[in-house]
């Protein structure tokens, strides 16, 4: 009995393993998410930020993508990615450097510098201690703390080395899960700085009070921000809330309040797969009327 059952169980487990490994999903990456011959490639560099005043004691990695078309005499647009390590990898869920290379080359988005930032970690002071993970504190908390960290601290440092736009119109912020609500929070708090938001499977739930946004959006005077929301019908339903319902509420509130928004409900769970595969379309929509988007509507 055992000899028959055990290999069967292992085979079943392996099946699950392989389907994950091979990324079997109805959402497949299109040509804009793959390297194409003749498309100039931007450069990605890795950096570390260890002297935050907004989040004292934190250490984090971040990456900067500079497109091949960048010309230091012309201000470039800016797009920030929360949980940046996941977005910047060419084999990650979104393959951002490849997508940016293709879309900038095709004139579907402006020349844009990508900044990919990981959440902070506060290492223990003594050996053997557990680090204090700051992701939830930075991403799930409402208020302008994270925006402050970006706007007053990290981005000005990057702005010393690169010619970045000084207009909100040229600045976007993107994130997944808690990074998704964080992207929205940054623009909600500082619409004077960020005008474009992309959220994959955003945690508009009660992790640290973020479930209030649909109510706030309906009552607050409309802010000049454009929002793309991606969500999956198999997403989380847990102690913090129900992700699909929360995103439905967000979309309904944005519609009610007259926002320029898009909402895509797929079938995935809490993963970046669907959002990642449609990133070229998301970016095309997001940047469609920017003055520096050659193939845009402007």
């Amino acid at each position: 009995m055992i000899r028959i059952q055990l290999p069967g169980a292992v085979a079943l487990l392996l099946l699950g393993f392989c389907s994950q490994l091979l990324g079997q999903s109805k959402y497949e990456y299109g040509p804009d998410s793959q390297r194409q011959d003749g498309v100039p490639q931007g450069k990605v560099t890795q950096h570390r930020w260890e002297n935050s005043k907004v989040f004292p004691g934190t250490q984090r990695d971040y990456w900067i993508y500079v497109p091949a078309q960048y010309d230091k005499t012309k201000p470039a647009s800016l797009m920030v990615f929360n949980d940046g390590g996941g977005y910047v990898r060419e084999k990650g869920h979104s393959r951002v450097p490849i997508v940016f290379d293709n879309l900038i080359h095709q004139g579907r988005m402006p020349v844009t510098i990508g900044v990919f930032i990981n959440p902070g970690v506060i290492p223990a002071e003594q050996p053997g201690g557990t680090p204090r993970r700051n992701r939830s504190f930075e991403y799930d908390s409402l208020g302008d703390q994270y925006a402050q960290f970006l706007i007053d601290e990290l981005l000005p440092a990057i702005g010393k080395d690169y010619n970045l736009t000084d207009s909100a119109e040229g600045r976007a912020i993107c994130g997944i899960s808690s990074g998704g609500i964080c992207a929205f929070t940054a623009a909600w708090e500082r619409p004077d700085y960020f005008s474009k938001v992309v959220s994959y499977i955003g945690s508009f739930t009660n992790i640290r009070g973020g479930h209030v946004y649909p109510a706030l959006i309906r009552k607050a005077e409309k802010k000049p921000i454009r929002v793309f929301l991606q969500e999956g019908s198999s997403d989380l339903d847990n102690l913090f809330g129900n992700w699909p319902l929360a995103n439905e509420q967000m979309a309904a509130a944005l519609k009610y309040a007259g926002y320029d928004y898009q909402f895509v409900m797929g079938t995935e769970g809490h993963s970046g797969r669907h959002g990642g595969t449609i990133l070229p379309e998301i970016l095309t929509w997001l940047w469609r009327d920017h003055p520096d988007t050659p193939q845009g509507s402007n």
Binding site: P7, V10, L13, L21, P56, R132, S136, S141
Partner: protein, 293 residues
């Protein structure tokens, strides 16, 4: 071959979903049919539950200046009648009971016969935590401060600026200190240095507040083996996960002030709660931590 695939599988299951940060809903620790059960009653104001090596729980009746012991059979006996309004209690790795004597304005150590000896004097104190390396940290709600008593009994101020620091505990690794603010919203985290100083003060967790109030009513805290924090508040025992997120709220045992909690019993799987005139306990599907090494 099979082993190799299983290893791969384990690697995959551990790494494929970094976004799916581990949630720790309180449903994981609650046991069907188990609720608060009365342990002892008839006191004025119970506080400071502390557990010894055997799993017996000690508590104080603050105004009466008495400390009691609940043995493993549930029998309550007097341990000390010289407590001088001791509010916080905790056993050290040396097996001795330490306390915060509000009446004596002192951090004290109790001998086996219940006689106190001062470790630090002329201090405003509320609650304390005793680390395995001998460092003691205590809250001072009068001045809004946290103090350290080093193993060689030197007293120093290590934090300030908290409205009403009350409960105090460490993570299971004993490298991270957490202080509750009774008149505010936050749990404050600190990294502990080897010399007992504190760094990187941060309002890491926001507690649920009663409707219409800006005060959590937070008092004593304890921690379980995975690092969940159990915080006594006006709304009940608020449970926080290791990322500082509220995981749920256990109801109060009675409609009265809830002062403190500790895991007790031989397996440290009963949460003991002191609340005004009574002491309760409930069995949970997790265990506490002994700070013995």
């Amino acid at each position: 071959m099979m082993k190799k695939y299983l290893v791969l599988l384990l690697l995959w299951s551990g790494t494929s979903n970094p976004l799916n940060a581990q949630d720790l809903p309180i449903s994981q620790i609650m046991i069907d049919g188990e609720s608060w059960e009365l342990v002892a009653e008839g006191y004025q104001f119970t506080e400071g539950p502390a557990v010894n090596d055997a799993g017996e729980v000690f508590f104080t009746d603050v105004p009466a200046s008495k400390i009691y012991k609940v043995d493993l059979q549930g029998k309550v006996t007097l341990f000390s009648d010289q407590a001088n309004k001791t509010a916080g209690l905790m056993f050290g790795a040396d097996g001795k009971l330490y306390g915060t004597s509000i009446g004596g304005k002192a951090i004290v150590q109790f001998a086996a016969d219940g006689t106190p000896t001062s470790m630090a004097e002329d201090v405003n104190c509320n609650d304390l935590v005793v680390l395995a390396d001998g460092h003691i940290f205590f809250t001072d709600h009068v001045d809004g401060k946290v103090w350290n008593v080093s193993p060689d009994r030197k007293l120093k101020e290590v934090a300030s600026g908290i409205t009403f620091p009350n409960g105090i505990i460490v993570w299971p690794d004993q490298k991270q200190l957490v202080v509750s603010d009774m008149k505010g919203e936050h749990l404050w985290n600190f990294c502990i240095s080897a010399d007992g100083s504190l760094n990187h003060q941060q309002p890491y967790s926001a507690m649920q507040l009663p409707i219409g109030s800006m005060e959590s009513g937070a008092d004593g805290m304890t921690v379980d083996k995975v690092g969940r924090l159990f915080v006594c508040t006006s709304l009940g025992v608020q449970v926080f996960d290791t990322q500082g997120r509220l995981s749920g709220i256990l109801s109060k045992p009675q409609r009265a002030f809830l002062s403190n909690v500790v895991f007790g019993g031989p397996d440290l799987n009963y949460l003991y709660a002191t609340t005004q005139d009574k002491v309760y306990r409930r069995k949970l599907n997790t265990t506490g931590v002994r700070f013995t090494k």
